[in-house]
Symmetry: D2
Subunit: 140 residues, 4 copies
């Protein structure tokens, strides 16, 4: 199903995240997206921590990032996360990252798979999760 659930969260670029170009290192965006994703799930009513406690893991199967303008040290970034698609055992999140002056820093997408901790195989997500996300379904 297509969803339009979206959530914004903020984070500040840490000194240790900069590289010698003076930019936030390109590898950090995976973590920025993760923060956005986790906070989006929390806003939806679903903690990722609880999901793991229910023996469900959600590893990333695909990551795409486009770098539009550099984020710099101490920049306050806004990560907007959208749960864009949800089908069977898979879920897709899309992200945009803006800086304080509203400039687009980055956009990206992650595909994730629900995996059972016991069988280590893809599984359908818990029904409470399906219910929560279904409320935000949009016409395809």
């Amino acid at each position: 199903m297509k969803s339009n659930f979206t959530h914004k969260t903020s984070l500040r670029v840490r000194y240790g995240e900069t590289d010698q170009m003076g930019y936030s290192y390109y590898g950090n965006y995976a973590q920025y997206f993760e923060v956005g994703r986790v906070e989006a799930l929390r806003a939806l009513g679903m903690s990722y921590k609880t999901l793991e406690e229910q023996e469900v893991m959600l590893p990333v199967s695909e990551l795409n990032v486009e770098y539009k303008s550099p984020a710099k040290y101490d920049d306050l970034l806004t990560v907007q996360t959208t749960i864009s698609e949800f089908k069977g055992t898979r879920i897709t999140f899309t992200y945009t990252v803006h800086n304080e002056s509203g400039k687009l820093v980055s956009n990206g997408r992650t595909k994730l798979v629900f995996v059972s901790k016991s069988t280590m195989k893809p599984m359908r997500p818990p029904s409470n999760f399906v219910d929560l996300i279904s409320k935000h379904q949009v016409e395809e």
Copy 2:
């Protein structure tokens, strides 16, 4: 131009790179690719450090990663890096990551742009770099 320059380098998954799933965190692959890329350039005869000393930066404009099977703590990974395309101010690297038993862990691609440190604008790469890469040109 299309190139077929390819290079293999090895690295071991560090404890600090694992996450609580017991996998190497998905964000680490940006750094694994960077190690592959830097060692590929070194094997080609071009140190990335020297490039920066010539006032040329090479920021990443696009990153794609597919996660095929998890890398675990202490796994010795082989990153194979190919300079696949080189055109104007842009260069594309592709990567495959295998573990010791030959299993595909991940593949990916990065697009990078040559940027002048002084003007902060895209620039043609230094001619010695063009010469080195031209030796590995293939028919398109």
Copy 3:
């Protein structure tokens, strides 16, 4: 001089910060302390970013961390930072980190040196910084 300037800031343990023990990796505390330090300086009226723009760097010369109990994924940590000593070209920060239930996770200390970007030698800090910190001087 001895100071008692102290400041609290919060941060949440990111998934990428956990290791396969399920703890926040021991190396992350350097970054947690840095976040505490930067926010303490900001609360004092001094942005670290501004300091660097004034050609002053503040590298760490010594780090000590005691790990008292593990921080786990999604824990909301409170970092309390105190500027404990300030003398000549050197400044000492001490830290305590607690989790949401008030348990002590870690404590530590960093010593830093004011260094001139142009000469790369230790230097006295800018006078506006000295003024700000002097307001919080305590009897030795």
Copy 4:
């Protein structure tokens, strides 16, 4: 008991490890020490991975680092690790880090505790580990 078991391993400073001062970020040394520690144990005949598979964890209880001169991008560092003390449930490692020109970059120490995965309490290390380390005992 005091030990003199010592081992050298090399690692190259990654681009993603630099910060905007152009130095390897001070938090990275925890990971450099970990690499040194793991390779020292491997050289001793004990893989840390195997230790964890035997349900033994070895979390760090204390970390000390002195930063003597900066490590820069692409520097090839030598981490010398010594198992300096081993008593009951505790083990202490000391480290020195030098760059290629032999300059001391950093030295440090970590104290670690053997912890049982099942009870989460400190435990005596496996006897094969004790045997291995005992061969390197020195007079106190």
